[in-house]
C-alpha cells in the first residue's frame, strides 16, 4: 500500500510539472484478482492506480503503439525487472528512445510489493546483471520436469499435441512486447510464408516461427502464456529458447539499451554448432 501511495504521488507530480505526458500502470479489474492496464493522464486517473503482487502483465508493449512516442514527449510506465529488459530490447532494436521513458520499477515477493530504485534503464543495470547471475528461485513446475525428460521425438509429439489446440487468435503475438511488427509475417501473402489455417500443420508452423523470432529477445514475462485462451504452455518454449541462446551465445537479452541483438549480429567466435 505504501509503495502504491508513493507512486500515485510521484505520478501526479511528474504529470503536473510536465515531465511526463502519461503514465501506464494498473487499476482494479473485473474481479478481485484481476488488474487492468491504466493510462494515467490526469490526477484523478492517478488515484485509480493499483500496485500489488497481482500486477503481472508486462505493459511495455503499449509504448510502441502507433503515435504514442512520436511527439518526443516522455511517458512513464510501471515495470517489473523483465519489463525493464523489454524496454532495453525495444531500444536496442530502435523501436523507442529510452530517454522518453520514465520507469516506475517494482517487484514483488509473495504479496509484498517493493519499489525498485531508479527512473531510466541505466539505473537498473546493476539489478539486471544481478538477476542474470542469480536468477530468482522459482518452484519447478511438474510439466516442465516432464518436458525436460522427453527425448526429441517425444518433445516434438508433445508440442504438436499442445499446438493442435491453437485457434490462431494471435493473442500470444498481440500480448508480446517484442511482436511489434506492423505487418506480421503471417499476414503477408506474397508469398504466403506461413499457412493461415488453424490445423495441425498451420498451428505448428505459426508457433515454431514465433518461437524462433523470439529467441534471444524473449524476457519470459509470461504475457503470451497468460493471454493464450486455450492454455498452451508457451512459457516453456520461450524459456528453453532463452536458455539455448545463453548457452550458445552467452547472451542474456535486455541487459542494456545498446546490447546488440544476438541473432542480428555476428561475432567471429560465435559457435557454429547449429550449422549442420
Amino acid at each position: 500500500m505504501i509503495t502504491q501511495e508513493k507512486y500515485r504521488t510521484t505520478v501526479k507530480e511528474l504529470l503536473a510539472n510536465g515531465t511526463i505526458k502519461m503514465a501506464i500502470g494498473y487499476r482494479p479489474g473485473s474481479t478481485s484478482d484481476r488488474r487492468r492496464p491504466l493510462f494515467i493522464r490526469t490526477s484523478e486517473e492517478a488515484d485509480q492506480l493499483v500496485l500489488d503482487s497481482t500486477c503481472i502483465t508486462n505493459l511495455s508493449g503499449y509504448l510502441v503503439a502507433e503515435g504514442l512516442l512520436s511527439d518526443e514527449k516522455r511517458v512513464g510506465i510501471f515495470l517489473r525487472p523483465e519489463g525493464i529488459r523489454s524496454i532495453n530490447i525495444l531500444a536496442a532494436e530502435y523501436q523507442l528512445n529510452v530517454d522518453q521513458i520514465v520507469i516506475f520499477g517494482f517487484d514483488s515477493t509473495g504479496r509484498e510489493v517493493r519499489p525498485l530504485q531508479g527512473q531510466t534503464t541505466s539505473d537498473f543495470s546493476a539489478l539486471l546483471s544481478e538477476i542474470r547471475e542469480n536468477p530468482p528461485l522459482t518452484t519447478k513446475e511438474p510439466l516442465l520436469e516432464r518436458i525436460e525428460k522427453m527425448n526429441a521425438k517425444e518433445r516434438f509429439d508433445f508440442w504438436q499435441q499442445e499446438f493442435s489446440r491453437c485457434i490462431k487468435c494471435y493473442a500470444c503475438r498481440q500480448a508480446c512486447p517484442m511482436c511489434y511488427c506492423r505487418r506480421c509475417i503471417v499476414d503477408s501473402n506474397q508469398p504466403q510464408w506461413v499457412n493461415t489455417s488453424s490445423h495441425t500443420l498451420g498451428n505448428f508452423e505459426w508457433n515454431v516461427v514465433r518461437a524462433f523470432h523470439l529467441s534471444g529477445r524473449c524476457v519470459q514475462c509470461g504475457n503470451c502464456d497468460r493471454a493464450c485462451p486455450v492454455n498452451i504452455p508457451l512459457r516453456f518454449i520461450n524459456q528453453r529458447m532463452a536458455k539455448e541462446v545463453v548457452d550458445g551465445f552467452d547472451h542474456f537479452a535486455g541487459l542494456s539499451p545498446t546490447q546488440e541483438p544476438v541473432l542480428a549480429s555476428f561475432k567471429k567466435d560465435d559457435t557454429e554448432t547449429f550449422i549442420l
Binding site: 501473402n189 506474397q190 504466403q192 490445423h199 495441425t200
Partner: protein
Amino acid sequence: MTETIHNAQPNIYKPAIMKIVARHDEAPGVRTMRLEFQNPADHEQFKKTFRTGMFGLYGVYGEGESTFCVASPETRNEYIECTFRQSGRVTSALANADVGDLVTFRGPYGNRFPIEEFHGKNLLFISGGIALPPTRSVIWSCLDQREKFGKVTIVYGARTVADLVYKHELDEWQKRADVDLVLTVDPGGESPDWKYRVGFVPTVLEEAAPSPDNCIAVICGPPIMIKFTLISLKKLGFDEKNVYTTLENRMKCGVGKCGRCNVGSVYVCKEGPVFTAEEVSRMPAADL
C-alpha cells in the same frame, strides 16, 4: 486430419470454371479479360441472374478470390468481362493467366442499377481512373437500348493519358452523335497530343454543367473523387436520390456471411454494391 469428400450437397462457395478467351491491356498494370463459362448450367444461371451493377469473385485456385464488378453489360451476357489492376496476390495470378487458361468466377452477387427506372431520363455518367469498368457496364446496358433513354453524357477522367482505360471505346463514344463524352486528365497528366480537357473531374463537371432536370447521375471513382464530385453535383442542383454510386469493400464470401464488408449496418455484398448518394450519406463516413 480425416475428412470425407461428398459431392451431393450444393455448395454456395463453389465457383464456376471460366476460360479466358481474350485479354487486353488497358493501362499500365490494368487488364481486361473476357471469360466464357465452361459449364452450360453455370452460364444459364448467370444469364438468369445477372443485371448491371452486380459483382463477382474472380479467382485462381491456389491463390484465392478477388472481388470486382462485372464490367460487361447485361445486354451482352454470353460472356463476362472484367477489368482489374494487378496489385495483390489474386490479381497478380489473374494477370499471369493467358488466353485459353482457366480461372474461376463466383456470382453474380449483390444488387443492381435499376435501369428500368432510368427509362425516359437523361443519363450522366461520371467516372475516374480504374473505376470506369462498373460505369461501363451501365453505359453499354443503356446504349444497347439507346432509344429508351434521353441525353447521355459521360464525364471520364484519369490521372494521366496513359491511365485512361477502354481507349478504343472512348473513341467510339467520342464519334457517336448520341453520346456526349467529356474527357479529362489531371493537370500534368496530359501528353503533347492531348486534345481534350485538363483538370480534375469535379471541376470539369461543373464547367460542363449538365442539367439536373429529369437526369440520373451514376458516379464511380476513388473515394476522394466521389467526395468532391458529390459536392459539385449538389451545386449543380442534383437530388441525392437521383445520384447512384457503387461501393467497394474487401470481401471474402460475397453472400453476407463472412462479415467484413459492412459499412455501418449495411452489408455491401448483399444490399450493395449499388447505392444512391442519399443512402451513402446515411452511412457512418468514418467506416467507408
